[in-house]
């Protein structure tokens, strides 16, 4: 009898995970890009993977609680956003709160390339890392997550939609300026990235990659 119950549970569980995979497939790339864009330091790819891993586990664990399957995409992005926020909060109070919810789980296999090959994406990640969390989340949810202004307003607990509209326009302007500055510095032969500690890790990886036979 006990064996039967265990088997039945396993079958339900397998059915659930397959369904979850069906749902996640269409938004897989966007969710990863969102995680990658969120990471504070342009070169901290591990962090993006950690956030993605914890978000997937949280989503899978609570998948049976999702009432409207049509809202899966928004639900997943909201989980990623909350995981990102709590991830950095946890880092801040890490010494006090050593508890890791998913410490018994295997690590997600590497997804992101350790050396960013695309220079434009690299610049964008660098520029995004210079924004505040609110600005970055609003921008990425709108551009990558496909969230409406109304949905971002609810997620960011704002009272009016105009606050989100102005945040988006301000962020866009800031990003444009940062990217322009990066381009100008590059043109002048002054590679700004070398001055940035944020990107030092990435530059080191690039050099190592070049030296490698």
């Amino acid at each position: 009898m006990r064996h039967f119950i265990q088997k039945e549970k396993l079958e339900i569980s397998t059915r659930d995970v397959n369904k979850f995979l069906e749902f996640i497939k269409p938004c897989y790339n966007d969710a990863l890009n969102y995680c990658r864009g969120l990471c504070r330091k342009g070169s901290r790819i591990d962090e993006a993977e950690d956030i993605f891993q914890d978000s997937l586990l949280k989503a899978l664990e609570n998948f049976d609680k999702l009432e409207d399957e049509g809202k899966f995409r928004n639900w997943l992005f909201t989980i990623i956003t909350n995981t990102y926020i709590s991830h950095y909060r946890k880092r801040l109070f890490g010494r006090l709160l050593s508890y890791d919810e998913y410490k018994d789980f295997d690590k997600l296999p590497e997804i992101f390339p350790r050396v960013e090959q695309d220079e434009m994406c690299d610049e964008l990640f660098l520029a995004l890392s210079k924004l505040s969390d609110k600005e970055k989340i609003a921008f990425l949810l709108f551009e990558i997550g496909g969230f409406s202004i109304e949905e971002i307003k609810i997620l960011q607990k704002e009272i009016s939609s105009s606050a989100i509209k102005s945040r988006l326009s301000r962020t866009r302007e800031k990003l444009r300026k940062i990217i322009e500055d990066l381009g100008r510095n590059k043109f002048n032969g002054n590679v700004n990235r070398f001055n940035s500690i944020d990107n030092l890790e990435l530059e080191t990886a690039r050099i190592i990659n070049k030296i490698k036979p």
Binding site: V17, F20, L21, R36, D106, L108, C121
Partner: protein
């Protein structure tokens, strides 16, 4: 920049989906096992997950317990006014003293002492008021009588044991406002500000000039809020001449149970406790709701 965003949107990781799926299937079994864990593990998880919150709650409990620790304070309950007069029975002094309006209201002691062969009469009067200005004014009256010497004010202290929070509150709630060149609105705002600063956020304050030119101050607890603990509130508003215009105070939490007393007994008790305020029955408003008794004292003191 649009190109940058487009590049990011076009970034694909499809080749990693397979291994992510495998990892998810494997992790799902662990999640399932976790869900089926026995209660005690869930409890352990719960405590681990919320240990910061538990630490804060424990800290607050310690703080509350510490605040309830009794401390002994010395409270001034009145002042003793003493002076001496030459001779055993000095008629001139007695006459002068009897002329003082306040002198008759107080009980006191009169001792005749023999100091180095000279008879000296020592007077002691207990003033049941902690108002320094009032007692100083009595002292000034006495100093005008030439025969009197050694006029002293000695505070009458008593030890009171109360919780720390109450002790802290005791030193807070005295509002003294110099109303010179202030409008009624400014005085009201000032009282409100000082009450807020003292933690009295649940009070309605109204300060206005009546039709007859007299000032009216109302400070009362908002409806539905009970006044608890030994919270003394005294509001003094003085005009430009330094003359007291309005004085308002609340009394200590009673040491008797009002619910077991009749209205007449309550009124007598309050009058006894505030005898210097000359309260009348009309000033003491008693409301009863079941076993709960609320007593409001509305005494207008206008000069």
């Amino acid at each position: 920049m649009e190109e940058h965003i487009k590049k990011l949107k076009d970034k694909k990781y499809d080749e990693s989906f397979g291994k992510t799926s495998m990892w998810l299937i494997d992790s799902n079994n662990k999640l399932l096992n976790r869900k089926n864990r026995r209660g005690k593990y869930k409890m352990k998880d719960f405590f681990l997950r919320h240990k910061l919150q538990f630490a804060i709650v424990a800290l607050m409990a310690i703080l509350i317990a510490a605040c309830n620790m009794p401390v002994t304070q010395s409270d001034t309950v009145g002042q003793v006014l003493s002076w001496t007069a030459p001779g055993a029975s000095n008629t001139a002094v007695t006459e002068s003293l009897n002329k003082l309006s306040w002198f008759k209201n107080f009980d006191g002691t009169v001792d005749v002492k023999n100091i180095n062969g000279t008879a000296v009469t020592e007077y002691k009067v207990v003033v049941q008021s902690t108002d320094d200005k009032l007692v100083t004014s009595y002292k000034n009256d006495l100093e005008k009588i030439k025969e009197l010497t050694s006029i002293k004010i000695v505070p009458l202290n008593t030890s009171v044991t109360r919780p720390v929070y109450s002790a802290a509150l005791h030193s807070f709630f005295k509002i003294d406002i110099n109303a010179s060149n202030m409008t009624d609105e400014q005085v009201q705002a000032e009282i409100r500000k000082q009450l807020d600063a003292a933690g009295y956020n649940d009070m309605d304050v109204s300060y206005k000039t009546m039709e007859n030119g007299k000032k009216r101050l109302e400070v009362k607890m908002k409806d539905g809020i009970k006044h608890e603990g030994n919270q003394n509130l005294q509001v003094d508003v003085n005009d430009k001449n330094g003359e007291q215009v309005i004085k308002m105070k609340t009394m200590d939490k009673p040491d008797v149970d009002f619910s077991k007393m009749t209205d007449t007994e309550i009124r007598t008790y309050i009058k006894e406790k505030n005898n210097e305020d000359n309260l009348t029955d009309k000033d003491i408003i008693i409301k009863r709701e079941g076993n709960s008794v609320s007593v409001n004292i509305q005494k207008e003191e206008q000069k």
